[in-house]
């Protein structure tokens, strides 16, 4: 015979094993008083969060809060779900209510920092991340928030450095792998990005975003997009500077025919970089569907 504690522990274990569907099914089988306990609400909201079922997270968190009163974890989940529903002011209210209960909770601090990044308040986000990092510097949530902060500030080098540190500390963490993929894609390293997203999808098959990102990077590895690799690696600004520099230098050296040919080649390259990616994406998607 299994006691109530054992049943809830089993649900928690299923969540630990990244089996949110099974965890939800298990919670659904709990007897009436246990199914409406504060822990059951937390576990249900946690499983729904993993499945990105944000409307359901909002409903479950609100029901749990209505039945049992303020709860930091449920408020945190509510804030996260409301952010995904783009209800930013309401998300902030929920997270602040949660932080009023647990002001030193690193996960809540990171959630609030992520929300601030998403609305462009990066200075406040930085202070929140620093506070969370002072408590648990090596927590995955802290690494992820540091990455988001660097990305939101447009500091791609810092984002790449954080992604490397994250992967070094948590080599099997799907978020670490995915962020490593994002950083690699940002720097034009399509192959590395594809491998990282593929590994992330293998570690967490429940998250469709990883598989989508792996597919997207596969598109960019298509042979028709090979000529665009230097553009992705160097970035738009440096590539333009290089191209214009070459054209101006050839022109200044009196090699007008070569300069003209270079300008023509560069224009064709630009047109190709504009039209090729959507065409290849459509082509590959069509082939996959058929």
């Amino acid at each position: 015979m299994t006691g109530p504690g054992t049943q809830l522990a089993r649900v928690a274990q299923l969540l630990e094993l990244n089996r949110p569907e099974q965890a939800l099914a298990e919670v659904g089988r709990l007897p009436a008083p246990l199914a409406t306990s504060p822990l059951a609400f937390r576990l249900r909201a946690g499983a729904l969060t993993v499945l990105d079922r944000w409307d359901d997270v909002v409903a479950v968190a609100r029901q749990g809060l209505a039945e049992h009163g303020p709860d930091a974890e449920l408020l945190g989940r509510l804030g996260l779900a409301l952010r995904h529903r783009r209800e930013h002011a309401l998300a902030e209210r929920a997270l602040l209510d949660a932080l009023a209960i647990e002001p030193e909770n690193p996960w809540l601090l990171c959630q609030y920092a992520d929300l601030c990044c998403a609305v462009g308040q990066t200075d406040k986000a930085r202070r929140l991340v620093e506070r969370a990092a002072a408590i648990v510097p090596d927590a995955p949530a802290v690494f992820a928030s540091r990455f988001q902060l660097a990305y939101a500030r447009g500091d791609d080098r810092a984002a790449e450095r954080v992604a490397r540190e994250f992967l070094g500390a948590w080599p099997d963490n799907p978020v670490a792998l995915a962020l490593h993929g994002v950083a690699a894609a940002q720097r034009g390293r399509v192959g590395t990005a594809h491998r990282a997203f593929g590994q992330a999808a293998a570690h967490d098959p429940t998250d469709a975003d990883y598989a989508d990102a792996a597919w997207e990077t596969l598109v960019y590895a298509h042979p028709l997009l090979l000529p665009l690799r230097p553009l992705y690696r160097l970035g738009i600004f440096r590539t333009w500077l290089l191209a214009l520099g070459v054209i101006v230098l050839l022109s200044a050296a009196g090699l007008n025919v070569l300069a003209g040919l270079s300008a023509l080649a560069w224009m064709l390259f630009c047109v190709w970089s504009w039209i090729a990616p959507p065409l290849v994406r459509r082509m590959v998607l069509g082939r996959w569907r058929s």
Partner: protein, 148 residues
């Protein structure tokens, strides 16, 4: 003591749904092919969609006007000089400089938009339209100034 970190700072109406913006980096294409007028108009529209600050709007507008004046001045200088230099390149460079300002002021708001799970709009038709219409208007203006 109250912690100012835990004071609400997100206004309910500040991030309401607008039309999706274009990727600021992609504005380089209309900038180079259309010139400063095309990229300025597109960047101002994009800035509005991203909800950038008034100083950022003014910076783009100022860069656009400066780019256009610089293009006209340089073109006149080239015509006065009688040299056979690439006048088109001056337009592309002026557009590129305006793009630099637009990119610098819109990169962060666009990143925030991405972090709100926003998807960029396609610049295909607006970009092509701006290149053809505004690029032509600008070329006509340059020709008029050169003739006058």
């Amino acid at each position: 003591m109250a912690d100012d970190l835990f004071t609400p700072t997100i206004a309910p109406a500040a991030y309401e749904a607008r039309r999706p913006p274009w990727r600021p980096q992609s504005l380089i294409f209309p900038a180079v092919f259309g010139g400063p007028t095309a990229v300025t108009v597109l960047a101002l529209v994009n800035g509005r969609r991203l909800g950038v600050s008034r100083p950022a709007h003014l910076a783009v507008l100022g860069a656009g006007l400066a780019g256009l004046i610089a293009r006209l001045a340089l073109t006149l200088a080239i015509f006065d000089d009688g040299a056979n230099r690439p006048v088109r390149l001056v337009g592309a460079l002026a557009g590129g400089l305006v793009w630099l300002v637009a990119s610098a002021t819109q990169k962060r708001p666009f990143r925030a938009y991405e972090l709100r799970s926003g998807q960029p709009a396609s610049l295909w038709l607006p970009g092509l339209g701006a290149v053809l219409v505004l690029g032509f208007v600008e070329a006509a203006l340059v020709a008029l100034v050169a003739v006058a």
